[in-house]
């Protein structure tokens, strides 16, 4: 019906081509909103985001989930196995570690280091890599060459070797020194993704149209290019987040990440691996928690990619 009306009024501005007025103003739907509608119906998204929300809650307030002090050791409980039944959420639910500390409490308190490292490194690499990638992709020429070669240099450094060198330079290693090392070695991935994405977007007609209107570089970059180029970066960042958590645990396991007063799954996995035959539970719970977390973030990244990629719609 609107078709017929449009034809009848063929381009006469006085009459609206679409004179059939909408019964009520329709709610505007952006691409982001469309993606959200799509995501809400995906079981993978629901499961992984619930897991992540729970994990963040644990990281913010582990005291809500247990009243046991994760650092209080009682050597009488040296590698005491978890009870066969019952004792949900009790200190001995997951058993005790070598110094008689509750593994349940340590798993909960260890979440904070992992979540902080994961989120901060992801935020850091996204901002740093996003900006460098945008500059390289948009300006091209020698700027692109310079940024790309620097990216190549950092990309060539093996992650563990580079982290070893950087972290050894710190006299006392905290969560923040691990975050720093991982950002310094990880931003190049985001630069490459962003650069490619910006190069595609900057050729779009709407960018030319903005230039023809006289828009400045800043406006073109942040109003036209960034919103259209960011989707692949978000996807890579979400998937990489799980990887950063795993890397933090790896570094702690190797003894170059976090150090003992800090509680981390990597440290606990390291101390438990010596007794894997006699007390497997001491390894199982922190390692299981780590796997679950990484899996949750990778599943989330997958779901987000499907929702943001218009080709899969």
């Amino acid at each position: 019906m609107p078709d017929l009306i449009e034809k009848k009024n063929a381009g006469i501005p006085a009459q609206r081509a679409e004179s059939a007025a909408e019964p009520k103003p329709e709610k505007a739907r952006s691409l982001g909103l469309d993606a959200w509608h799509d995501l809400r119906r995906r079981p993978i998204f629901i499961v992984s985001s619930l897991l992540i929300l729970l994990l963040i809650a644990i990281a913010i307030a582990p005291g809500l989930f247990t009243s046991v002090d994760p650092r209080a050791g009682d050597l009488r409980n040296h590698y005491l196995s978890p009870p066969n039944y019952g004792h949900l959420f009790q200190a001995d639910w997951f058993g005790y570690d070598g110094q008689g500390r509750s593994i349940y409490a340590r798993v909960l308190y260890g979440a904070r280091a992992s979540v902080v490292v994961g989120i901060c490194v992801t935020a850091g690499v996204t901002v740093l890599g996003g900006l460098t990638g945008m500059i390289a992709g948009y300006f091209g020429g020698w700027v692109d060459t310079l940024v790309s070669r620097i990216t190549d240099i950092f990309f060539g450094i093996p992650l563990l070797l580079g982290a070893l060198v950087i972290l050894n330079a710190f006299t006392s290693r905290t969560v923040w020194s691990v975050v720093f090392a991982l950002i310094a070695l990880g931003w190049t991935q985001m630069t490459r993704v962003m650069r490619g994405s910006v190069i595609t977007v900057k050729q779009a007609d709407y960018v030319t149209a903005a230039k023809a209107l006289g828009a400045g570089t800043f406006r073109i970059l942040f109003k036209h290019i960034l919103p259209n180029a960011i989707a692949p970066v978000i996807v890579v960042a979400t998937i990489a987040l799980g990887g950063y958590i795993a890397t933090e645990a790896t570094l702690s396991f190797l003894g170059i990440g976090l150090q003992d007063p800090t509680i981390s799954w990597g440290i606990d996995i390291n101390s438990a691996q010596k007794v894997i035959r006699t007390a497997p539970f001491a390894l199982f719970f922190p390692a299981g928690m780590l796997s679950l977390t990484v899996l949750a973030f990778i599943m989330l990244g997958d779901a987000v990619r499907d929702a943001l990629d218009p080709k899969l719609r």
């Binding site: 006469i12 501005p13 691409l31 209107l213």
Partner: protein
């Protein structure tokens, strides 16, 4: 005739070709636009036709200062705008705007229609005071025949024709005097093309706009244009009023182009001769010497390869055949004229 609003003199745009990775050496240039001159008057529509790759869109980009001209001048009301930059260029942009070919890529999918049409006001805040912008955007939507209630919608919620109307509204926002339309209807469905063309004509009357209308559809160009320029391989080969070009073409390329227009009348088809050109359009990086068209022209002689024909009024006959044509042997082709 009155002072032209836009005057183009010997406009050249060459894209350099480089060789080597580290030490780049220029080995030639793609001569996309190679010495074009014409005038555009107030309230006039100048159609530019030519086959793909002849430099039509490059010409539009150079006129819009989206690409820097290699040499030549673009005079807007007597002032050369081809070398401007910064604030002076921004001021000129208020007066010359553009409508793009593909309405599916020329609107930012992450912005609402209100933001897209309102962006010119944000860039040029002096055009509309902040409080009036929403009203100004709704007025523009009304002018191009869209419901002003659609201000909060996103481009993907519109059809192709509606999107092109949004693009036109964006071009109109700054109240320009010249609008360069780069194939504004070729991405649209035929039934919608007519609507958009009618809208453009109506707007021209209402706002005294001058159009430069680039297209490859000859019948649309004839419908909308007062004058028509024909381009081949970066040069203007013939320019004149629509009657002069369509009924009394003197350049062989124009004649060949016109003979390819489908005629919707089976009886008229027999009385007319189709000119089939041999070969392909030569590379603009290495165009033929002398006349660009000589490699495909049935009239070509020795003189054509040595002497570049200039765009000038030939000394033939009287009446409509007397218009600028860049051919040494410019002449009205009789069967063509008879058929139409």
């Amino acid at each position: 005739m009155a002072e032209p609003i836009l005057e183009v003199k010997d406009l050249v745009k060459h894209y350099p070709l480089h060789q080597g990775i580290l030490f780049k050496k220029q080995v030639g240039a793609v001569k996309a636009v190679d010495g074009i001159s014409f005038e555009l008057h107030k309230g006039e529509t100048l159609g530019i036709v030519g086959e793909s790759g002849c430099g039509k869109s490059t010409l539009a980009k150079v006129l819009m200062n989206l690409e820097r001209a290699t040499s030549g001048q673009v005079l807007y009301k007597g002032e050369d705008i081809s070398r401007l930059s910064g604030a002076a260029l921004k001021a000129v942009r208020r007066n010359i705007q553009m409508v793009f070919q593909d309405p599916y890529t020329s609107l930012n999918p992450r912005m609402t229609v209100g933001d897209i049409i309102g962006e010119p006001f944000e860039i040029h805040p002096e055009v509309a005071p902040k409080g009036d912008r929403r009203k100004a955007v709704q007025d523009l939507l009304d002018v191009v025949g869209l419901n002003p209630e659609y201000i909060n919608r996103y481009p993907h919620q519109f059809s192709g024709g509606q999107r092109q109307r949004i693009g036109i509204a964006r071009g109109l926002a700054l109240k320009p005097e010249v609008i360069i339309c780069d194939e504004p209807v070729s991405a649209l469905d035929v039934s919608v093309q007519a609507q958009v063309i009618n809208l453009l004509e109506q707007l021209q009357k209402d706002f005294e706009l001058s159009y430069m209308f680039i297209a490859h559809d000859l019948s649309i160009v004839r419908h909308i244009s007062d004058r028509v320029g024909v381009m081949y391989l970066g040069r203007m080969v013939e320019i004149g009023s629509d009657e002069e070009i369509y009924e009394h073409a003197t350049h062989p390329y124009t004649q060949a182009l016109l003979s390819a227009v489908p005629v919707p009348d089976p009886t008229g088809r027999e009385g007319r001769e189709r000119i089939i050109l041999s070969g392909d359009i030569p590379s603009p990086a290495n165009p033929p010497s002398g006349c660009r068209f000589r490699t495909r022209c049935w009239k070509a002689e020795e003189r054509c390869s040595t002497e570049l024909p200039l765009l000038a009024v030939p000394e033939i006959g009287e009446g409509p055949a007397k218009h600028a044509s860049a051919c040494h042997f410019a002449a009205v082709r009789e069967p063509l004229a008879a058929a139409s």
